[in-house]
Amino acid sequence: MNLNKLTIKQALEGLKAKRFSSEELTRACLKQINKTNKQLNSFLTLNPKAIDEAKTADKRIAASIKSFKKYPLLGIPYALKDNFLTNGLRTTASAKVLDNYIPQYSATVYARLKQSAAVLLGKTNMDAWAHGSSTETSDYGTTRNPWNLNHTPGGSSGGSAAAVAADQSIFAIGSETAGSVRGPACWCGVTGLKPTYGRVSRYGVIAMASSTDSPGPITKTVYDAALVTQVIAGHDPFDATTSQKPVDIKPQALSSQTNLKGIKIGLPQEYLVKEMDPKAKKLVLQAIDKLQQLGCQLEKISLLDPHYSIGVYTIIQRSEVSSNLARYDGIRYGNSRSHFNYEAKNRVMLGTYTLSTGYYDQYYNKAQKVRTLIINQFNQVFKNLDLIVGPIMPGPALKVGASQASPMFGELVDMLAEPSSIAGLTGLSLPCGFVNHLPVGLQITGPQFAEQKVLQIGHAYQQATDWHTKKPPAYD
């Protein structure tokens, strides 16, 4: 078996047993990247120090087996979305405005992964500034879906999801504003966790919509997602919106909690939207049946129609985008404002409009009011329920070019992720079947800081099914 196909759990076991070295593991990933990146376009920049980092990891392993305690991801190669600042390594957020930007400091997430001795392979492609859900707005060309190159991998963390699906990397880091981790994870047939807003630091992540941005892992299994989240989560003195709550994510505990008896899950009828692909819908309902077989107690619930979230999310996100992009004023980062692409300009204009005097109350303020309604409704629902389940995307991956026809493409395909993002909840996306050889995903949403519970039922599901083990044939 090729080493690059391993999960984090398997790789750690192999490294511990000295069946292979981190250098071999890293080289296997780099080999796959070299072989496949031309087709996939998932990596923008490779880390020239990757092998050195792997060698350092090997020295630590050789020094003491206890090193794994100190460095929980010791020697594990990974890919980082290009909106995370990496000190000394080019960071562009796939935007030409930052074409040659070398950061002077590192994002907290990157610093923590470095601290845990994971090996950075490189930076992955994304929608420019994270504006999109297909990776098609990237100024460096779109990423392709490993399951079918004519299809998009989803976005905005499309490069990260494709890298994991094509075994270019053992795991990857993405970031989500509304659906940017869960969406591409679904379309690429891998696992994606959007942690609670404020659970993982945003410091050093090029901001998209500050009030919903949440960094999260894209992995091959739910167990791996827990391993990574445990490392990157927790209070950060550099991000005032991170929570002081202790991190209670325990990957080891997942294995002993495969019985889901007594866990109450709810399926909101409104989330089986009219746009839903009937075959995908069937697969999602089958997955929910499986959860019931594992002991979950299902209730049919009612929530605000997710279509309302599209408007709320769009206004808040565009407003924040218009503000967050103001610093790229052409004075400092080398490239002038003419380098902003169509999508960014479009968003800046709409956001500027919704924040303008006379329109603020009509748009931004009203959106915030509906946002409060959505939050209150979730709070109400979670009084009687543990988790909410349903589809994450209306159907399997769309064809490359699909986003061009619709200026609201991202907001429409992400509508099932938007309500939970607006409310700052945690959500997991995991594969639950295929339609036309393209993956379909199940979404599990929990209240704020309920990551462990969400991961628990996700893990139990993957223990009972094998959808997550399927590989895209061209890259197997």
Binding site: L98, Y203, I206, P237, D239, T357
Partner: protein
Amino acid sequence: MPINKLLIGTQKNHQLMTKYKPIIGMEVHVGLKTKSKMFCGCPAHHFQVKPNTHTCPVCLGLPGALPVANKKAIDWTAMLALALHCTINKHSRFDRKHYFYPDLPKGFQISQYDQPLSQKGYLTLDSGKKINITRVHLEEDTAKLLHKTLKGKHVSLVDFNRSGVPLMEIVSEPDISSGAETKEYLKKIRDIIRALKISDCDMEKGSMRLEVNISLTGSGIKPYKVEVKNLNSFRFVAQAINYEIKRQTALLQQGTTPRQETRGYNPKLKKTFTQRFKEEAEDYRYFPEPDIPPMVFTDKDIAQWQSQLPELPEAKVEKLATQHQLPIVTARLLVSKPANYQYFLKSLSVAKKHKLTSQQLANLIINKKINLTKKISDELQRQTQKQTVDPVIIKKVISDNPDVVKKYQAGKISVLGFLVGQVMKHTQGQADPNLTQKLLLEKLAVKK
């Protein structure tokens, strides 16, 4: 000028004053002397510091950087607000104020908009008139632009040391009616801030910056507002206001409404001048700063700030007037310099031993007769010695110089200086010259 013409002049002025009423509001920005900046850990002091040495990703506005609010700055601003009788808003937050300028690296300034830390306070002038305070809020300072010529080229340099320094903004209602009132208002604000020890309020270092909004009202006048900026002394504020009142009065008399604009002040010419026009209100597209959670304060927080307030100038004046029988004017002079006030209180008992009244002590301090850095009793010893000149020496000088005395008595008053000099010689310069002269005169008068 013939007296009748003068009278007519005053009458005319009086008519003008009643016809047009000045409406003046102040915006005062004060840089806080916290250790670190408002939203990052960089040192906040920036005066005469090597440019761009106190910077980090946050105050440079780099991609991905996030602000974390400085608690001390919030505490201090709340304390000033309480000192100005403001109501603390229990729900407060920061907002983004957007505009483009090279000294603003994020493209927005983090300020406060509709939920400031505090609002609705007042400050009482000596006349008893209350100037209402609209709000006291907190924001971040911008970077500093330096316009220089380097190698024959005109360049603008940006120093980010000032970027992100905590800045309080104190906004008054347009309740002020004259340059003199403005000056008093500003002095009082400054004295309170200095008593709180939260800023030096040093205008030369830019830690206190002033903006005036001034217009005239009266029947038939369309509302307008003229803003005067870049005023770096209280005196200039008063002068600028007086100039503006004259300028705007003249315009209104011609039937012209003064233009809505921002003006600067030239202290040499004692004139204001047009800087830029404001056709419409600028749209800053304020919205709540999503990177900083909203602030919630409790009664306990407010009580704590209240308990940390030092004795304020108003209370000090009151105390000096009632407990130490000082005239209000003397009390205010003493209080205006915290060091003088402290010295006065500490010296009271020693002064009593030297048979000095509190009024005499206060005068000595105010007239800078006492070196505040020296030991109290030594200083008072020196001062009280000066108060008396040994009569033996006076007598001796008079009897030793009969010729000079004769000259004096013959009407040559200027020789008195010589006699004073002789006394000074005998006392090694310790005698107070005024007192010596007085005693000599008394003695000489008797002799006559």
